[in-house]
Amino acid sequence: MSIDSNFSDPRFAVDREALIARLRKVLPVQALLIEDEELRPYECDGLTAFREMPLLVALPENEAQAQALVKVCYELKVPIVPRGAATGLSGGAMPHRDGVVVSLAKLKKIIKLDPVARTAVVQPGVRNLSVSEAAAPFNLYYAPDPSSQIACTIGGNVAENSGGVHCLKYGLTVHNVLRVRGITADGEIAEFGNAALDAAGYDLLALMNGSEGLLALITEVTVKLTPKPELAQVVLASFDNVTKAGDAVASIIAAGIIPAGLEMMDKKATHAVEPYVKAGYDMNAEAILLCESDGTPEEVAEEIGRMKAVLEKSGASEIRVSQNEAERLKFWAGRKAAFPAVGRVTPDYLCMDGTIPRKRLAEMLIAIADLSQKYGLRCANVFHAGDGNLHPLIMYDANQPGEVERAADFGADILELSVAFGGTVTGEHGVGVEKINVMAVQFSLSEISAFHRLKAAFDERGLLNPGKGIPTLARCREYTQTRAGAALSAPRF
């Protein structure tokens, strides 16, 4: 089943046997999977609602093999779907039925870590967390920390421009990457950015970040490493209603505080996660906020004091400050495990990713509660509140007929509302296949066309991850027509 995976494209008429014969010549035998039995486990990434059997799966062991593979695909006009750890939540690594899934999981070397220059050169299959682990002896770390950082890889982080719980202060992936080396669709090696802070020409490095595998196959990344702050402490504040919590977020920023992290979870989310993590969250609270300060001990003490004052004034019912590093990590562990932990209370969920102006958080929470009623589906809310980035987790049961479609409609409503509130349909998870339709709500046909021209500037034949990120113009027209009838309780754009 899938909500809508009709990506068959007549442009790609691939002779599978001929392709296999060619690829056998450039890849070791264990690096090419061809049997259905081996291919099916690759049919989806972290978003299981969208699935497609790949034509083949390739697991190149080095850049040379990857390049040879891309050249064969270019010559035979075969689509390529890059894949890292497949933890993505927008279906960016969902296979193409006429294409080769290229897993970069075997490219997992940290090529060089320079503690003086504070940079690391890594292969795309290196896990986010293992960069920080490798840098830890030098009191450095890699700042972007998506919740899946234990498993997700740097290549995927660049492809999605991943954020995390600390990006309000430390930036997204795009702010923490100096250079990306990759293979273009025609099999050329290209370097975007360099070892310095900027590069000559257009900022193609910025384009690579968040390009969802549509512009090049990433084979190497130079990341910046950040000195670990002397101290970090987190304030855990409880609220007896979500509106107060939402307003507290805006008040903190309004007070001129830029917290190192500012996160919010509602009751459904804390109740899902607490049994597993035992983070010590207040089970009576309707919402909790995690508000972190880092810096020198004096600086942190001063800032925590200011944060507490704002939170108290905003009506927090309980305020706790982490007393040591173990407790701080425990507070965060609950937040980081929140998505999958929801799997304990529901067989399936869709995770939304809209971003809105902070001041409208409370309003959005109320709207989501209404939609939850309307669709008869539960929804847990986990927000990167400081960035206004929402992650409503819509719970459903894929084994119940009609539920996945209802969940998808519920999600579309939230995303359209995000746009109507002056925000975007995706803050950090990417468009993938999941949000490809709602792109039509956020962008005009001219803008979508411009995206297509930009794509063609890198990949004229459209072989890299086709069907993702940018909708076809026909799709946009179709979507705006069908959704025009859908009733929305909030004002439309």
Binding site: D36, E37, R40, I150, V277
Partner: protein, 415 residues
């Protein structure tokens, strides 16, 4: 995750259990990060999430071949993934169910059958295993290296005797186990001596043999259940009369398995109650000793012990992931004055994993060598662990002595 199990299994107890487990998995992929084989091989099919998918398609009635079997065989059953999984997927149960179905569907080659038969027949029986090791030991110089490596070396430390029989009010049962009496007889003796000093009598009821884990993980479920019934029968009189307060496990592999007896017999009316009671009474030795820590500390203070050695602890998967006991042995060693050397990637398996070192020699050796490198990084004098399998496996690749932690506690108290 959406499921649609095939008719052949849908309405069986296994089918229902598998369906429930599959539906808790949300395919987040966190598990791949801590899976030893995924970290080595980088193929989705060699990680928990891929294996869950492979099992799912088998249970959904898709064709299955030796490819699926190979990827399932490569799993160490270390359960590191379960520790990582935020959704609470009971992976090892799904794997047991999946492996059994695949075994039925695909079968095994003659050679594989023979190996598995030998392992099933020899290892769980001390009276077969002991002479076999002796012969292997004598033949060792003549064997090709790949095989010679597999002949375990009995511990060089001569076993010290059990304590003089004393009647303590508190009594506990110990399991001799199958290979432990031959390879590391000092482990249970040391446990008995330590408990004796803590005022607890340890004894081994006769007629137990193997706890059943070995055959269970070789997919010989029926034979394994026989082993388990034998153990239950041997213990039950002592439990029934209320004379023992706990069952002490000195091999975490056995401990993890015995703690699941209750689950495994829940559909067997004759054994369900007994099995459940036994699981409830079962404790790892570290849990028992930790509960007596204040008394232990007094004893340690009284013993004129000097500064302890620097040691590196390898927590067996069956201890940290299977039984979810973490940091307990480490704190006991620290309390006894040993200096703990830091170990990278402590969650990863050493590659022993029951009979894995024999069925998957290449992966097993890679994992062992990685583990030995991690253990040796801080130049400790001794490697310490809590399971016979890990102990002999690590020892086969290292000149540094590998010992059971209880021996170290015992030695501190002996001074």
């Amino acid at each position: 995750m959406q499921t649609n199990l095939a008719d052949f299994i849908k309405d069986t107890p296994e089918g229902r259990e598998a369906d429930a487990i599959l539906r808790t998995c949300v395919h987040c992929g966190f598990c791949t990060a801590t899976c030893p084989t995924y970290q080595l091989l980088g193929n989705e099919l060699d990680g928990p999430r891929g294996r869950i998918y492979l099992i799912k398609q088998v249970l959904e009635g898709q064709p299955v071949t030796q490819k699926t079997q190979m990827h399932l065989d490569r799993c160490l059953s270390c359960r590191s993934c379960e520790t990582t999984c935020p959704s609470g997927v009971k992976y090892h149960r799904l794997l047991d169910i999946g492996r059994a179905v695949v075994e039925q569907r695909v079968g095994r080659s003659v050679l594989e059958k023979a190996t598995r038969f030998l392992l099933c027949e020899a290892l769980p029986r001390p009276w077969v295993f002991k002479p076999a090791v002796k012969i292997g030991h004598l033949m060792r110089p003549l064997l090709p290296s790949i095989l010679a490596d597999k002949v375990p070396m009995p511990s060089e430390n001569a076993p010290k005797p059990w304590p003089q029989p004393r009647t303590h009010k508190r009594r506990m049962i110990a399991l001799p186990g199958c290979v432990q009496p031959t390879l590391t007889p000092n482990t249970n003796a040391a446990t008995a001596r330590v408990l004796d000093k803590l005022g607890i009598e340890l004894f081994e009821p006769a007629g137990t043999g193997c706890c059943g884990a070995l055959r269970y993980h070789l997919n010989a479920h029926d034979q394994a259940l026989e082993d388990m019934r034998r153990v239950i029968d041997a213990w039950w009189p002592h439990i029934e009369n209320g004379s023992v307060e706990a069952i002490v496990m000195t091999a975490s592999g056995c401990g993890a398995h015995v703690k699941e007896y209750g689950d495994m017999f829940k559909h067997d009316p004759a054994y369900a109650r007994k099995a459940l009671r036994i699981s409830e009474l079962t404790r790892d030795a570290s849990e028992i000793i930790a509960a007596e820590q204040s008394r232990l500390v007094e004893l340690l203070r009284a013993a004129s012990a000097g500064v302890g050695q620097r040691v590196a602890f390898h927590s067996p998967c069956t201890l940290q992931h299977g039984q979810k006991i973490r940091g307990v042995v480490e704190s006991l060693l620290a309390a006894a004055g040993y200096e703990l050397s830091p170990v990278a990637d402590p969650h990863l398996c050493c590659g022993s994993a029951g009979t894995y070192s024999i069925t998957q020699p290449t992966l097993s050796k890679q994992l062992r060598d990685n583990k030995l490198a991690a253990l040796g990084a801080g130049s400790p004098a001794v490697f310490v662990t809590a399971n016979i399998g890990c102990q002999t496996h690590l020892q086969s690749g290292s000149a540094t002595p590998v010992r059971h932690w209880i021996e170290l506690i015992d030695e501190r108290l002996a001074h």
